[in-house]
């Protein structure tokens, strides 16, 4: 049980030659993905003569990414536990149909709630979340307890739920949706400039606290820590990124005519020369909350620990007393819940439910998770990676659309990028031995 003499450990005192980047202990994978994203953004910015990196386009890009990104965070857990979920787009459609019917037909007709009642949106979302979670848990039960492969269960689910959605609405498009509900779609509900700055300040303070707290704990146990300047630099970058993001979203001004209508709706007259920005959309706020919670689950809870352990070595997890069958049910229930949240965002953004909502989302979601570094062999994946993956895919698609590439060609490029990204990831893992 002796160590090999040439074991290379970053914390060994004998190893003094450390580069600037090693001292910072940057997550090189994260750095690479951000680099790839920035490269794509810059290329499209040149090709579109500066139209890609405008506040307006960045705002649109973020709200287009939200739905797929939310589901992708759940797909990380699924793929980490060596499963797959092909049914997320169809499940989204079923939940979307349920919520559309709940707010336009079932609640008004059965409970007598008037259209426009403030109860409609929360009740519809609650019903949708319950339905999504139950369907997801049911998939998990079929997979975990009846040991039907996830590929088959969710392939079946894809056929079933897409058409259950059709059945629920008798094939009709359902809309317009409740006004409060629609606020979660993106452009119709934002925090406003002041609210966004308050949110940004809170988020930045929270991020700084996390860095400080992690360091304090390490010091308390006498573990090696990086130099204070390195820690401060990284925390500073995180804070700057958060505030920069808020600043960009705040810089996208609400068009004057739309603004005037908003004042009219409140029975006021817009002051001459008044202008204000959109700020952070509620849907993006939702994504940030989902990402935070899912990251905490992944890194700081037993559930997350067991998900990764079961993915790394299912037998070892079972021998450690982990109920891997129930774990599968929980993972798929989480995905089902997240599909429901995505269904809110997707249908609210359209302002109606249509039969084709979420079509092909399963492929986008899987691609986002995989581009984000989730390994199909299991045990490896990050929440932030999946979100960055979703952002990269959306950037490629909308960038190409802005340049005038036709949709079929866009899909060809996205398909190639997916394969190349995974190959780069494989090479990276081999090189770093991670």
């Amino acid at each position: 049980m002796t160590d090999t003499p040439n074991s290379h450990d970053a914390s060994e005192p004998t190893r003094l030659k450390r580069t600037f980047f090693q001292t910072l202990e940057f997550d090189t994978r994260l750095l690479g993905m951000i680099g790839a994203f920035l490269l794509i953004a810059l290329i499209f910015n040149v090709l579109t003569e500066g139209r890609f990196l405008t506040p307006r386009n960045i705002f649109n890009l973020t709200i287009q990414t939200v739905s797929v990104a939310i589901m992708a965070t759940g797909m990380v857990f699924v793929i980490v536990t060596r499963h797959i979920d092909l049914s997320v787009g169809a499940l989204l459609a079923t939940v979307s149909a349920v919520m559309a019917m709940t707010q336009t037909a079932w609640l008004p007709n059965l409970l007598g709630l008037e259209l426009g009642s403030p109860l409609l949106a929360p009740l519809a979302i609650l019903v949708g979340a319950i339905v999504g979670t139950i369907i997801g848990a049911f998939h998990g039960w079929l997979i975990g307890y009846l040991t039907i492969p996830a590929f088959i269960v969710t392939l079946g689910g894809l056929f079933v739920w897409r058409n259950v959605a059709w059945h629920l609405t008798t094939g009709q498009t359902i809309g317009p949706l409740d006004g409060n509900f629609v606020m979660l779609g993106g452009i119709d509900g934002t925090l406003g400039v002041t609210g966004s700055w308050i949110f940004g300040a809170l988020a930045a303070a929270f991020a700084a606290y996390l860095f400080f707290n992690a360091r304090r704990k390490k010091v308390a146990h006498g573990f090696p820590v990086k130099p204070l300047w390195a820690e401060a630099l990284i925390a500073g970058i995180a804070v700057a990124a958060i505030l920069g993001f808020v600043w960009i979203l705040n810089s996208y001004d609400i068009p004057t005519r739309r603004l005037a209508r908003m004042f009219e709706a409140r029975g006021e007259v817009m002051p001459e020369g008044y202008s204000t920005g959109y700020g952070v959309p509620y849907s993006v706020l939702l994504l940030i909350i989902v990402a935070t919670v899912m990251t905490i689950v992944a890194q700081r809870t037993r559930l997350g620990r067991y998900i990764f352990a079961a993915g790394g070595n299912p037998e070892a997890a079972a021998l450690s007393g982990i109920n891997t069958r129930l774990l599968t049910v929980k993972v798929f229930a989480i995905v089902g819940f997240l599909c429901a949240i995505s269904a809110v965002v997707a249908s609210a953004r359209l302002n109606f439910h249509s039969n084709d909502v979420g079509t092909l989302d399963e492929l986008r979601v899987i691609a986002a998770a995989v581009i984000g570094g989730t390994a199909l062999s299991g045990g490896i994946g990050t929440i932030y990676g999946a979100i960055l993956g979703a952002l990269i895919m959306q950037s490629l698609q909308s960038g190409m659309a802005m340049v005038g590439v036709e949709a079929p060609y866009q899909n060809i490029v996205v398909g190639i990028v997916l394969v190349v990204a995974v190959y780069i990831d494989i090479v990276y893992r081999k090189r770093t031995g991670a």
Binding site: M1, T2, A10, S11, T301, R305, A309, N313
Partner: protein, 260 residues
């Protein structure tokens, strides 16, 4: 040779007794009415060919397999072991031949897998677990430094020491070791032997599954030999020759019965 060779006191209640254990897979009786016992501070070798049923027998004790029949006693009281959590409850710890490590997790996460230390709010307390891991590894393998890498990146010996640390840390009373030295070099094997001696002195009982007759003679007090799912017999290793043991393993001949 006589019984007095052994220093193990078998006058009291056995630490662990598995009585009339049975397990079948399909039509095959993997374990067929087998009884073994273990006293404090004793090492009992479980011997036999591949497929003799020794791993299956031990997996019924560790909770990995559900027994078809038989009784398990710990300190004279019958216990129900239906899953690995039950076994852990009775301080039965196992070091599997495969080590049963999640390769993608670090040493501390593996050591505490299924028994994580948590903060008052219920979140896993990684710094605390790492600190505890550093303590136990400092005792077992003082050269171990790689606390923040996935165990996949560790050497065979380092991985073995993580698996052993997991069993030792949680105050095992009954330890099952499934071919603990199969993948190790000479020096590492010597360290495992030393550790077994140390655990014996602490009064821990050890079931040692092994192929190596030399090792069994050197490390074990008694040996229970299995063949085709049945118990050939249990002998004091000091009272038999290596040839006797081989005869039991290969031919299923019990030397005591021969003599009688």
């Amino acid at each position: 040779m006589s019984m007095t060779d052994t220093i193990v006191d078998r006058s009291g209640t056995p630490l662990c007794e598995m009585r009339d254990m049975q397990k079948a897979f399909g039509g095959i009786r993997a374990v067929d009415h087998v009884t073994v016992d273990l006293y404090p501070g004793e090492v009992v070798g479980i011997l036999g060919h591949n497929g003799a049923g020794k791993s299956v027998l031990m997996k019924m004790l560790s909770g990995a397999y559900l027994r078809d029949g038989g009784q398990i006693f710990v300190n004279g009281e019958e216990v129900q072991i239906n899953n690995p959590r039950d076994a852990r409850k009775y301080n039965i710890e196992t070091i599997y031949q495969t080590l049963a490590l999640a390769d993608n997790l670090d040493a501390a996460s593996n050591l505490f897998l299924g028994r994580e230390l948590v903060t008052p709010l219920g979140f896993v307390d990684d710094p605390h677990m790492e600190a505890e891991t550093r303590k136990i590894m400092g005792r077992l393998n003082p050269n171990f430094r790689r606390y923040n890498t996935p165990v996949a990146a560790l050497s065979g010996g380092q991985r073995q020491s993580v698996a052993i640390a997991r069993a030792v840390y949680f105050n095992a009373k009954i330890l099952i070791m499934d071919e603990p030295t199969a993948a190790l070099g000479v020096e590492e094997t010597r360290m495992v032997a030393e550790l077994i001696g140390e655990l014996k002195r602490q009064g821990i009982g050890i079931f040692l599954i092994d192929h190596d007759i030399h090792q069994v003679k050197a490390l074990c007090d008694r040996a229970s030999v299995m063949k085709n799912g049945r118990l050939v017999g249990t002998v004091n290793v000091d009272e038999v020759t290596e040839d006797d043991l081989l005869g039991m393993i290969i031919l299923g001949k019990n030397p005591k019965e021969e003599a009688a």
